[in-house]
């Protein structure tokens, strides 16, 4: 009987302790909820001043042949490699009549993989745009019979940097190609002669066994010399002209390509 009484007393004591702890915790939480607003200090912020910065504008650097477009324009030209070739273009300080550079433009232009380079300036002239002719010299290549690819780059260095590019493929004075002729009884040779100071140029055409030239062609008829045994002829052809000569094939099924045309 006594033990039961002691147990009840002990249980009551523990219950009282728990209530006391819970009460304290609730009171502390309430107190903290009121005290959080006191974490502060003086803070002052202000805009001291604002500025508008503008860059020098009205900059235009253009060309008649070169461009800054991602796709570089390609120009096919022919040249008689008896002398160095000259690539001519214009650099301008305007885009159109309403968009003209107000400041001097300093530039350099180069031709690569081989060629000369120049430095220059384009001075402003009021509201009128200025253009400057630029000539770059390309020396005679080691193999004048093969097309030469030259990339021309013009870069402005002041006031801003802008790069213009153009690709020039310089074909030799005498170039030729034989069209695909598989399955055809004839093969067609196309000879291209570049513009030159002389009106005519001697050209030697040679062909391998397996075909014979069209004997009615003016190229053959007017040939200065012809050797059907060794399959070669030399003739004078006009410059700045394109000629075609047909070869009759022994075997139409094959692709006959063994023809050459060179400047004599």
């Amino acid at each position: 009987m006594r033990d039961e009484s002691e147990q009840k007393f002990e249980m009551s004591r523990q219950s009282y302790k728990q209530k006391f702890v819970i009460t304290i915790l609730i009171a502390a939480l309430l107190l903290l909820s009121f005290s959080t607003s006191s974490f502060a200090s003086y803070i002052y912020s202000a805009v001291m001043r604002s500025y508008i910065a503008t860059a020098e504008g009205d900059f235009y650097f253009t060309s008649d042949l070169l461009t800054d477009a991602p796709t570089v324009p390609t120009y096919h030209v022919t040249h008689d490699w008896t002398t160095a070739a000259t690539i001519s273009f214009q650099l301008r300080n305007y885009e159109d009549q309403l968009n003209v550079s107000e400041k001097q433009i300093i530039y350099n232009a180069t031709a690569s993989a081989s060629g000369s380079s120049v430095n220059g300036t384009i001075n402003p002239a009021g509201t009128v745009g200025q253009g400057q002719a630029v000539n770059l010299t390309v020396p005679v290549p080691a193999n004048p019979h093969a097309p030469l690819e030259v990339t021309v780059t013009a870069t402005s260095t002041y006031p801003y940097a802008k790069t213009l590019r153009g690709r020039f493929i310089i074909s030799p004075a005498v170039s030729y190609e034989v069209a695909e002729n598989t399955g055809s009884p004839v093969a067609t040779l196309k000879v291209t002669l570049a513009q030159s100071a002389g009106l005519t140029r001697p050209v030697t055409i040679s062909w391998q066994a397996g075909a014979a030239p069209d004997m009615t062609s003016p190229i053959v008829i007017n040939a200065a010399s012809i050797d059907l045994v060794n399959r070669t002829l030399t003739t004078f052809l006009n410059t700045a002209a394109i000629y075609e000569l047909v070869f009759f094939k022994d075997n139409p099924a094959g692709n006959y390509t063994s023809v050459t045309a060179t400047g004599a």
């Binding site: 209530k19 304290i24 502390a28 006191s38 003086y42 202000a46 001043r49 508008i52 503008t54």
Partner: protein
């Protein structure tokens, strides 16, 4: 029984509040100086106790500089001063930590450096491409001081892309002072 328990809660809260409400986490502080005799004279009389409260004071200025028609290679400077006293000459009664902040749109490739007028460089943090923040400059309470700086704006000569032509940048110079 339940009402008694709630009375106990309120009593505990009251006691705990009495203990803690005197404690403040605030960093505001004021010095009150009683320079006169206490409990003498009537209000408004010369014998009234003179009570002085601390003053928060800060003044600043950044020079107006034209940043128009900038070109690659251009350098511009902006003079700045900050002082911990007001126009009436009252010195701030609080320690202050002053930070200069600069925001830019980043449209132009401008570079910013800050130094004191004696040439001492002031570190400028660059947390993101559009913001520069100086290291804190300390002002001591009740010690009048004027700090002068020069902000240098540089357009690197190597950044000449023609896409910058006709471009506009908006630059804002801010100041932030915190009670130290």
């Amino acid at each position: 029984m339940k009402i008694k328990r709630w009375y106990q809660y309120l009593t505990y809260m009251f006691i705990v509040s009495l203990v803690f409400t005197g404690v403040s986490f605030s960093r505001f502080s004021s010095v009150i100086n009683n320079t006169g005799a206490e409990n003498t004279g009537s209000p408004g009389s010369p014998d009234e106790p003179g009570i002085e409260f601390s003053t928060w004071a800060l003044e600043h200025q950044a020079a107006a500089v034209s940043l128009e028609n900038l070109e690659p290679g251009d350098v511009k400077t902006i003079a700045i001063w900050v002082k911990n006293k007001n126009s009436a000459g009252t010195v701030s009664g609080y320690n202050q930590k002053v930070t200069l902040e600069l925001t830019t749109t980043g449209n132009l490739p401008l570079e910013f450096t800050l130094h004191k007028t004696d040439g001492t460089p002031v570190a400028l943090a660059h947390p993101d491409p559009y913001r520069y923040t100086s290291e804190g400059q300390m002002f001591t309470a009740n010690t009048g001081e004027t700090k002068t700086f020069v902000l240098t704006i540089t357009w690197p000569a190597g950044s000449r892309d023609y896409m910058y032509a006709n471009e506009i940048d908006y630059i804002e110079l801010k100041l932030k002072a915190v009670q130290a």
